[in-house]
Point group: C3
Chain length 325, copies 3
């Protein structure tokens, strides 16, 4: 679809969150369709995880985003979908690869939302595709267990913080979940959550560096818990690491089903976003270094540095692959 002014920041760059929402919608459609392709209980595919996603080039207002999705692996209870986004300037005809994302869905019964159904198997062209898929399936399963343990953290407000400290740029946003945010099952679309997370991360980044910022990448996101219609969600973000030209922001989503007293507030999602600062000509600008104060902040900075160095190496490989295609 055509990118509109509301999809973009003041400089005309489309928010990463808008792209993530489109990617998730495409993934939800193709996987729900697949899971209902054989006779049986009707179901809706719910997002369980998004693998790390890089934003290879910014998209502008007036451009058309072309989204294509393909099922690349099925386990007994989950579907792996590969989504590609191309942006096209319809006036010049120029096309660019914008994103390649991998998403995992789980089919939930339309009649009983707590029942996970079986996924019809897909046919593979080459035997190795199944093997590679199974490897990716096992890897993400491990990673999901790990992030579950990191989830107790809370963000406290800081009074009169110094510029460039963690407390100075940390931000949060509260949203009341409405009907348009939800699937047929009455749970929040994963894409809606990701769009809000990107918005909060963007505010944190802009507060830190006070320039025009854009999403560069999102680390793997795990959706631990469903969020029900009528909940209040609090999305909080804090900066964890800065390199010379990038900022890493950790984002938490907490849900509170506030008319149902049987359950309190719980952590539904968490993820790391990386932002860069852009000049008017679209070049990456230097970023002021994050000032860490507490031991916790120093530890998170070092962990962020680890992720940064690891991804830098991986990204080099990825960019080479894109260049070769």
């Amino acid at each position: 679809r055509i990118m509109r002014p509301d999809d973009a920041n003041v400089a005309g760059n489309v928010h990463g969150g808008t792209i993530l929402k489109m990617i998730e919608e495409a993934g939800a459609i193709i996987s729900t369709r697949h899971c209902n392709s054989q006779a049986g209980e009707p179901c809706v595919a719910a997002l369980a995880r998004v693998e790390r996603t890089d934003f290879l080039s910014p998209v502008c207002i007036g451009e058309v985003a072309n989204v294509s999705a393909e099922i690349t692996y099925t386990s007994r209870h989950s579907v792996e979908v590969q989504v590609n986004v191309m942006s096209e300037n319809i006036l010049t005809g120029a096309k660019k690869v914008t994103n390649k994302a991998t998403l995992w869905y789980v089919p939930l019964s339309l009649k009983n939302v707590n029942k996970v159904l079986e996924v019809p198997p897909i046919q593979y062209v080459r035997k190795e595709q199944e093997e590679e898929g199974r490897k990716r399936y096992e890897e993400q399963k491990l990673d999901r267990l790990e992030t579950k343990q990191r989830n107790g953290d809370v963000i406290f407000p800081v009074i009169n913080p110094e510029p460039q400290t963690v407390g100075y740029s940390q931000s949060s946003l509260i949203h009341l979940v409405g009907p348009s945010d939800c699937t047929l099952l009455g749970f929040v679309h994963g894409g809606v959550t990701m769009k809000l997370m990107d918005e909060v991360a963007g505010i944190v980044a802009a507060r830190h560096c006070k320039t025009n910022i854009v999403t560069a990448s999102v680390d793997a996101i795990n959706f631990h818990e469903k969020i029900q219609k009528g909940s209040v969600i609090t999305i909080s973000g804090r900066m964890t690491f800065t390199s010379n030209k990038s900022m890493e922001i950790e984002v938490f989503v907490d849900a509170e089903p506030f008319v149902d007293e049987s359950r309190g507030r719980y952590r539904a999602v968490s993820a790391f976003f990386t932002f860069v600062s852009l000049s008017k000509e679209g070049k990456a600008l230097p970023v002021p270094q994050l000032l860490t104060e507490t031991e916790e902040e120093k530890r998170r900075f070092e962990e962020g540095k680890g992720r940064y160095l690891q991804t830098k190496a991986k990204r080099q490989v990825q960019l080479q692959q894109v260049a070769q295609q």
Copy 2:
């Protein structure tokens, strides 16, 4: 209401689809109100058909669109509504007639969506008004039968198409039907469908001529089948004809109720949109000619030419009528 940035293209011209959506909302309100004006089963009026609509002058961001609607004929099971749109620049006070549209609605029971109710008859000021209305009613009934037969067509993707060919500009868009798209009965508003159709037609037109384009007119649209909440709709468009200064684009809407296996994908709506290319000063620009390759494409081009010549004659008459008012 006031036209907002998201209602318009990059050049500030409000999308024809936004206007069509407003027209349909006004029609749905007045006809639902009329059909519930007598004691009896409560109902919602569903859009069955929109007659050919011309966009007489473009609307800009910040202008106010005034929509007025009137019931002009009732048959036993349908209501004809005439809707007029005036755009007003509230700063200068200048007003322009933008659209005159005729819509047909059918009242469906709120309790049983497959039951068509009876329409309370309206009073006519002059006897001839009833006669003229009946004539229009019979004509549109015939036309609806005709388009039903044309409906088997499908659009296939083309690999590496040449510029200005049909395959080069053809486009499609997928949309997951959410609660805000639907009426009280849980079916997609006709206006929502028309807005999406206009968006796809606009992408086709811009890809073909690579300039700022606006909707000039929409041929009669028949809504053959309802589209249910939770469906996926695919809107596809391809260019069928170009004159010196206009492009005709055929748009199909296919619906797929993807969690309900009892029914496959089906054609819900189809229509022809005409677009023109505008210079910065708002003058119509020449349009590159469409290159037809297959026999089918040549046949469709000739049919489009027939419609173009027929409408050109009719439009002359209409413009004279508007000028006399």
Copy 3:
């Protein structure tokens, strides 16, 4: 959240209605949470009244609006919430107080919408806080009775009105209530109604003075009656008074549950909005005087003058308080 192009007028000033909607959402969340904090019947807090709200400084696209809410008084069946809005330019870091609003909510049972539940009492830090709250509670109760009596008025269209007369600028807007406009109970959010009221008042003001206008304040708004999903609402506005640099506009909201014949059209809300006209540099411009024609219009003008003089005195006090904080 970040202010987007669709939140603002052509000059980049965010609509007062967008701010009112955010304020109400914050109020609804905190009061619903409070009313469900003790075991008992689950409920949703419905907006009953908003006290007079001043817009102390305009907000621009790209700025972040920070909304904070606090419960300041509880009676047996109602909750008083104080909401503060600060706008922050995230690039310069500059912050401004934008609004301070007081809202009253009433908890309605989720199972039976006509049942008003009891509110858990709050603890007060100082004994006087409870006393002051009770005084505010009694005052607003009296005021609600008064406005109920003023509610019979209707706006008729005027043919060929003279510029600057009441008939010249009066405007109305019709809206079909959709699912995204409603709470869990299926009734329109108070904030949605206020946003539409601000839109109509803004059209009236712009038609009168033909310049860039912004909301300066909103008088107390009482929500007499709930508006149900599937209703049609008509929002009408007319100018009642002009001072040298401000315009007062009266806005009515009439609801019509058009598929339910048991009930006709009824007045749901009414309020007075004050707008000012701004130059490009953000200075208040002189406003052309309103020409009153009928006895009714002259009476309303005098009443408006009374409100204007009363508020002018009060506002002076308020601004001094803000300056001292």
